[in-house]
Symmetry: C2
Subunit: 344 residues, 2 copies
Amino acid sequence: MTTITMAIAELEARIRRIFTNCGVRAETAGAVARVIAAGERDNCKSHGIYRVEGCLRVLKAGKVAPDAIPEVRSGEGPIIRVDAGGGYASPAYEAARPTLIERARRQGLAALVINDCVHFSALWYEVEDLAGEGLAVLSMCPSHAAMAPSGGRAPLLGTNPFAFGWPRPGKDPYVFDFATTLVARGEIELHEREGKALPEGWAVGPDGQPTTDPSAALAGAMLPFGQHKGSAIATMIELLAGAMLGDFMSQEAREFMEGTRLLPRHGALILAFDPSAFSQGRDRDPLADGERLLQGIADQGARLPSQRRYAARRIARAEGIRLSTEEVALLDRLEAQGLGAVRC
Amino acid sequence: MTTITMAIAELEARIRRIFTNCGVRAETAGAVARVIAAGERDNCKSHGIYRVEGCLRVLKAGKVAPDAIPEVRSGEGPIIRVDAGGGYASPAYEAARPTLIERARRQGLAALVINDCVHFSALWYEVEDLAGEGLAVLSMCPSHAAMAPSGGRAPLLGTNPFAFGWPRPGKDPYVFDFATTLVARGEIELHEREGKALPEGWAVGPDGQPTTDPSAALAGAMLPFGQHKGSAIATMIELLAGAMLGDFMSQEAREFMEGTRLLPRHGALILAFDPSAFSQGRDRDPLADGERLLQGIADQGARLPSQRRYAARRIARAEGIRLSTEEVALLDRLEAQGLGAVRC
């Protein structure tokens, strides 16, 4: 495969231009470009350049507001709200970020509620960002209904990502971010393309019965990781980051977007904890104790999450991001032709 | 099996007497008895009468303070602390409970940090209690190091329970509470007694290699549910409910108790959310939306968690709790002979 090397900043600038060319507000285009370029930088292909067209597709369908200005509403308590106004999620996060950090440091605990956003980014981006500020972070959101509950027969829950970050002074933070499905939808699509049967436990077909046929699985529903335990966590995410925020759960997100072809619209919940506040009055250093655990995990030869991303990032920073000619051609096309080049 | 039926209140009173006879402070004995009787009432045998002797064993070993008076320290912010003083966890929770509820209602979000407690109860008890007050609740704590991280070779993480509650007006709350191990240690012990091989993926032996031999598994380490995802959640619990609280993680809990024979001592974290505060300004009813989801799960024929407990409770309330003659004999013995009857 022929590859072209592009600096991270150049990729980010190109993505930003693509969005502003399509009539997206400059600050929004900047926030979206930062997240997508970071995904590609980390070789997280599902959230890299691939997402540009997905974000534009929802714009072309008239289902995202390109000119929405996020509105932060914050009293004195631990809950901070930002109304994304039907725009993309990332600018809403950026708008509320300083308040969230300040509040978490001052009160020890704070929650950010994002409402009415079109969600396209991996959760690790924000989780890692806040962990870099010395905070522990929990983040979750619904998605499109695409998964049956454990023991169930039809799509009801989303792939509902769950992410966590923990600060590591002088090191990349401890960050995990995973879907509550057993596997990503892309994995099932790969089996379909290759004509391979699925392992047991991945999915049910449209008839609600367990299936190993990838086409039946794609027409049916995925199943949760960890059986009833993963199912319970996905349900918790619907409740905490959907119902509790007065926002869509995954079923309604899917109805709003008339299927799963477009990005989902819903809310998101981020909890930020200041370890120094939680350990106040205790004669221990939470971050040093955390290091002991994480070192213990690595010493057993077990992999800490996100290490592949961090390794890819180091290479991208030193050498630029390697893109295929097809990826660069897509960027060229989107930059020149705008929404006209977006495949629906 | 001959059974004896006992009213819930009678069982609770008997357990209370057993503890006060052993020199445990009356308020503490009351709190401990309430939790254990509730476990037995719900036919949750691992946290029922079985726990009485476990709680007394740690007392006989001099590793729990029978006269500790929990000290609640609460400023104005969302974090409430209770120092259990090396006593049992339950009286510490009871002491801090009113402040936690008041704070969560007033500020929308509050965290309870319990430090220095000997932990013996299932998390569902407190989670259900707070959900009954209209709050959403997340609860977690470390345990004894008994589980290897995914891809690891030796005990480092605890069985680290994770629990969640959501209020359902007019119904029993939605509550889940599970260990982050794939199976309970008792399951492995059962296979050993029956001379049956374990399924793959349950455990590693003392050599760090995967094993299907239950004896090797018991001498080695259990493995997490959901592979790397469950492992990540167990790690998160060590960090958030151990390191962050300036308290023991599972490794240190095990060292303090010189193995896993005695109950662990560590901290615990409870997060309480007021759905009406989180959804403020939104034109939706979070609890009604939650009902729609939970009904949707049930309508698919999928089981909601805790339903077996609630069913057992209804029977116990109507007919009393059925105990075996052995269980009643144990209660008789403990009541008459105190710590002298406790097997170490």
